[in-house]
């Protein structure tokens, strides 16, 4: 089990400074605050959580698109968290890639598809001919034609653009792809196509995904292992089925309850998030980040931070109730 760990993240922290004047105390937004995850080769790690909980930041930190504040990241047992950005650029060799959330901002509007697809390979020193061949091959793989090579992004729909984005990510033959909410900007019928495309490509090329989304049903469909994020922390993680069938953390329960259902009685109650939560990124209080919205919260929940612990085999939760 331990051997096939492709990526191991240990106590990763990413704080963004918030400047409020020169003389005032420097404050931070703790976007990712002490995350530990293991991602196994060939599997999909699904990351769920509400908007702004740090899913995208975590993904971008792992592939070192962002510099990290502290912690360790191992990629194939090699520490990459502390490498300088110039070192990472030369050593990464593009074996880690990313698919963006917004297909409209991910592609340069003035470039042709051929140029967009060539970009990652040109950086590795590939010739123009190699780029074109691989570009055409991958364009076919994502369900588009060679004719599209000379067209520009504005001639395509959102779903087609996302396919181009996926093809671009695969150009350098990566092992690990961060899918940063790749479907949330698309409409439902196109979502299904893109999801199935990602699954097919994973099988064919043996890819490992980190799949971030706030759409729970799609994450369940995609993922082998799931991490539930709240306020920059993983509050629950485990095998996809275990988490869905038996959610342990109160936040996960609320999240799963929030899935719209046609059976109205299935939805038990409205969710109330207390105003303290709005400020939870500056972490003004110690303790469990969810304590102020949690119906089971006791006094000690607001005092100490719960740690992620294994309560069943393959099912971890960070809550004092277990």
């Amino acid at each position: 089990m331990k051997d096939d760990v492709l990526i191991s993240v240990k106590n990763l922290k990413k704080y963004f400074p918030v400047r409020r004047g020169i003389l005032k105390e420097k404050k931070y937004i703790k976007a990712v605050d002490g995350v530990c995850i293991d991602i196994h080769k060939g599997e999909t790690f699904g990351l769920v959580g509400e908007s702004g909980c740090g899913k995208s930041t975590l993904g971008k930190c792992i592939i070192r698109m962002y510099d990290i504040t502290s912690g360790e990241i191992y990629f194939k047992n090699k520490e990459i968290g502390k490498l300088k950005s110039s070192e990472i650029k030369s050593s990464r060799n593009n074996s880690m890639q990313i698919v963006f959330q917004d297909p409209y901002s991910a592609l340069d509007p003035s470039w042709t598809v051929a140029k967009i697809l060539s970009e990652p390979l040109i950086q590795k020193g590939a010739s123009n001919k190699e780029c074109m061949e691989r570009g055409k091959y991958l364009l076919n793989k994502v369900g588009m034609t060679e004719m599209d090579m000379e067209r520009r992004p504005y001639e395509f729909s959102g779903g087609q653009r996302q396919r181009i984005g996926i093809a671009r990510a695969l150009m350098s033959n990566p092992e690990f792809v961060v899918c940063d909410e790749p479907i949330s900007a698309l409409d439902v019928s196109v979502q299904a196509q893109v999801i199935n495309l990602l699954k097919d490509l994973q099988e064919e090329f043996g890819l490992t995904y980190l799949f971030a989304s706030h759409d729970l049903s799609i994450v369940r469909y995609m993922s082998d292992w799931i991490g539930v994020m709240y306020s920059g922390k993983i509050v629950e993680s485990g095998y996809s089925d275990k988490v869905y069938k038996n959610p342990l953390h109160p936040y996960t329960k609320i999240l799963l309850d929030a899935i719209p259902s046609i059976y109205s009685e299935k939805r038990k109650k409205d969710i109330t998030i207390s105003p303290e939560n709005l400020d939870n990124f500056s972490n003004v209080y110690e303790g469990c980040p969810f304590a102020y919205s949690c119906e089971y919260a006791k006094e000690h929940c607001k005092e100490g931070k719960p740690l992620l612990q294994e309560v069943q085999s393959g099912h971890f939760v960070a809550c004092f109730h277990y």
Binding site: I63, M65, N94, F100, Q101, S105, L107, D108, E119, P120
Partner: protein
């Protein structure tokens, strides 16, 4: 997209009468300036027997105080004014774009340094700066171009910087950085094409401003040197003869105004085509 924009541009030109006449006027002026190159007479040839002649069939605009044909002088003057305008525009565009993109892309201290420098340049009245610098360096058409370009890049730098700041946040720029594209390459291949519409719009205004500045400099006597003429220096020479040859002042003055208005009109059309939010002609009819 380029074809679509060109179509929009044509439509805008045909609908906006002011812009249409501006374009026709500028084409006329530019063609005249080019065609005068085939004129084999000497524009500076002095003919003392025919000083300050009234407009006639032989000399349409009359002659000046040294008996030179005023029409020829005007056309040669327009040539100088337009050349200076375009070259000074190019200089200020190149400086402004480079400064703006570097400031916006690198941020931090480089940004602060460039933008404070531009603040300093903007804070001192340009006429003082231009006067001092043009007194220090060798006189000639290229030093005028350089001087005007050096003191008019700030507005363009600010525009380009603002646009670069928003572009920098786009995923495709961050991706290019992520896969290891060098900053120079990102600026050249991603940012410059994206800010091009802004630059073109700013360029038309910059030409108008440069012509204005050159005329003012020549009027003050620190611009082009005799016997070379520009519309500004013709205006200055006309001062002495205001009583008996009023048209000598009016003609270059009107030409300066029309040229500047035309460039500004076209600038508005460019802006309307580049940013459909603001319609051309609303600001100046």
């Amino acid at each position: 997209m380029k074809k679509g924009k060109f179509k929009n541009f044509r439509k805008e030109i045909l609908h906006n009468k002011g812009a249409f006449f501006s374009l026709v006027f500028l084409i006329l002026i530019i063609f005249t300036s080019i065609l005068i190159g085939f004129y084999d007479g000497d524009p500076d040839a002095i003919n003392i027997s025919n000083m300050l002649a009234k407009p006639s069939a032989q000399h349409w605009f009359g002659t000046d105080e040294l008996g030179r044909d005023y029409l020829i002088r005007i056309i040669y003057g327009g040539r100088v004014s337009l050349t200076v305008g375009v070259l000074a525009m190019l200089t200020s565009i190149i400086i402004g774009t480079t400064a703006g993109i570097s400031a916006g892309y690198f941020g931090g201290n480089i940004d602060s340094f460039i933008m404070r420098l531009s603040d300093i340049f903007s804070a001192v009245p340009w006429i003082i700066m231009v006067t001092v610098v043009s007194l220090l360096i060798k006189k000639g058409i290229f030093s005028i171009v350089l001087v005007i370009g050096m003191f008019s890049w700030m507005e363009i730098a600010r525009l380009v910087r603002a646009e670069t700041l928003t572009l920098k946040q786009r995923d495709y720029i961050q991706y290019a950085d992520f896969i290891g594209t060098s900053p120079w390459e990102i600026m050249r291949s991603h940012i410059v094409p994206s800010v091009l519409p802004t630059i073109i719009t700013a360029a038309t205004t910059a030409v108008a401003d440069a012509i204005m500045t050159e005329s003012a400099m020549s009027f003050l006597g620190i611009g082009v040197q005799a016997p070379m003429a520009s519309w500004g220096s013709l205006l200055q020479n006309a001062q002495a003869n205001l009583d008996n040859a009023f048209h000598m002042a009016v003609i270059p003055g009107v030409l300066i105004i029309l040229t500047i208005c035309s460039f500004n009109n076209l600038g508005n059309v460019f802006r309307a085509v580049a940013e459909p939010g603001s319609r051309a002609g609303e600001s100046n009819g």
